[in-house]
Amino acid sequence: MIDFFAVFGLEPRPVIDVDGLGDLFANKSKTSHPDRAVDGDFATLNKAFNTLRDPASRIFHLLALSGEEPQPKAASAGVSAWFGEVATGLQQFDRMFQPLSQETSSLLRAIKIREAQSILADLEKISEGLTYEKDGLLKAMAEIDAEWPSDRAADLDSLAQIACDLRFLEKWLAQISERRLRLASIAP
């Protein structure tokens, strides 16, 4: 297995400077992009970049490197608690949005936009909560990182749990953001 950290000359650890990673990626592309080199392995560089810039996939990669086969865990109780709210909010929005996007009468449209906006406001509150949750996880990651290298199995376990939770949170945040864009695309 390829050590994606090594591709960029980085030490494998939970937290890295993502902006700096972008610069490294741009710089290394100068020599390995197919327009510049015949034998440069750009696809690997590209994959390494995409893996490391996302915290969850970075952790999964880190665990795989350390020989831990990361078990696909369920979300923690704290994160799963959000599921009901997110799902209900999204469903409410979609039920509202579907007829709204096809509405031809401007008055009915205005009324429906107003209703959709109030549902979206609820979703935005949920989004704030999810972001708060996510920040907490990133902070926990930084705490483990501060003690790195760690060989305590407990730390690796918590990292796996954090990565799994991040995946859920990010998916929900993206779904809410998608609804925000959908409404913005039809509201004036």
Binding site: N27, H33, P34, A110, I111
Partner: protein
Amino acid sequence: MSQIVGIDLGTTNSLIGIMDSGFPILLADSEGFRLTPSTVHFPVSGEPLVGRPAGRMRAISPERTVFSVKRLMGVRPGETGKDNFPFRVADAQGKTTIVIGDCTVTPEEVSTIILRKLKADAEKSLGSSIDRAVITVPAYFNDLQRQATKRAGEAAGFTVERIINEPTAAALAYGLDRLKDRAKIAVYDLGGGTFDISILELNEGVFRVLSTNGNTRLGGDDIDRDLVRLLEERITARYPEIRHELKDPLFSARLRELAHDAKLRLSEENGVQIEIPFLSGNRRFNYLLSRQELEAITRPIIRRTRSHCLRSMDDAKVVPRDLDEVILVGGVTRMPIVRQLVAEIFQRLPNTSQNPDEAVAIGATIQAGIISGEIQSVVLLDVTPLSLGVETFGGLMNVIIPRNTTIPCKAGEMFTNAVAYQRSMRIKVLQGERELAKDNWELGSFEIEFAPVPKGVARVGIQFEIDANGILHVLARDISTGQQTLLDLASAVDVSDEAVEQMIAESVDHAFEDMSERVWTETSIKSNELLPAVKSALTLVGDQLTQENRQEIEALVKAVNEALDNKDIHRLKSANAALDQGTQHLATLLIDRAMSEAEKRRGG
């Protein structure tokens, strides 16, 4: 090795350029212009005319003169939308074709003819032969549209060294003399037929696209179409008796040309006199078209670009203040109203330093210089605009390569047998952002062969690769030997026949339903939705209406109620429409209120 040319194969105009002692220059065609109209005229006998000579035939022989063919590239019949071409577009066994007299040509072949002219004229002016090219496409072109463009280039005698995205090319043109900069820019590219928005990061010669979005069927042609409609209305208002004559293809073509020219002039002037001296008999038509009227038509079309801009910023994880510049390209961005709406979306004045017609071709030429090695200090990292995936159990799309992934890239997927001793499985390859497989473009399908083993034991690795052109290659890897074989994607057209038949069958079923009953139900549902809506809107913002407006609305409500009581379908329909119309202002007030409420929520 011969030099590489850069080609902007545009909806309205095409251009060709070449590197000359380290600088990109554009070449004039045999008529002496850098912009060659992407128009091809097929005479009854003899060779086709291309470019300006063909353009002159648009108003003389509209049914044999093909233009805006880019809107048909890689597009399946049934997806051709509301385009109303004076030439005949038909479906030949699942392929979009253009019918000229007794002959047919494909959009790809028309593009080849245009490319051949560019090639021949460039060879004449350079005095040497050229056979390698970089060709631009809209960033939001899917795999099928890119492949069609590449094939057109090959048929014209080019080795297509690269298919490059138009906004990315424009960014190269902008950034070439700012290589030391570190900046984030957005390129807003609104051309004759397509719209793209791309967000890039420029960093010491590396041009990295962060996200791209767009619509391959949105552009200046739509404005022309709506402007023609407006002029037709004005003509029929004055001469109702010649309504049928407006449909004459020769007249339509002439009107379209007048509309297009008026649109161009209204970027500079506030009003344009439209004159048709010999409209019909001795009727003459004179009309002063104001910029305001044009803008009223243009605004809803340009507004549609807004959601794409918001999406691309969201994907790039930037907000307007993170951007250093917003670059405008494409002829339509000359319109003041476009500049104004772009400024609203990005909250800054757009950068108009680039020639909107030439930036893409200049950029394509720079990319040609990068590939040939003439330009050493620049590298371009582009992305795939659409997510790539396969259809999974239950008709869902399983994303394998997400949109805005830097290309070239690859991703593997392991497939296993779902049933014991299953010998093969057909996999549909999709491109798009929708959750349901059927809502995305189907690029084709391939077959996986399994060894006859118990369930879940057979394993075949499939590698999906998107090359630097944004074109997909699918490889199957035998796990035991490590041998890779390139798979052919069976064209999706063969597969969709069944779906088409199904759709036809369903529409026939519906036709036999009792129409009058259905129309009544639909109309009364509409009324029963409108009436309470009016009531609640009046409670919320009714105090902002004038006394007359309020009385007018009340009268319209009464008319709807009466028609409902009398079960009069015709009256109900018109009463609904009148109420719709009469509550426009009320709707605006309501939207304003909703906006300020949303604002307040964000603030607090």
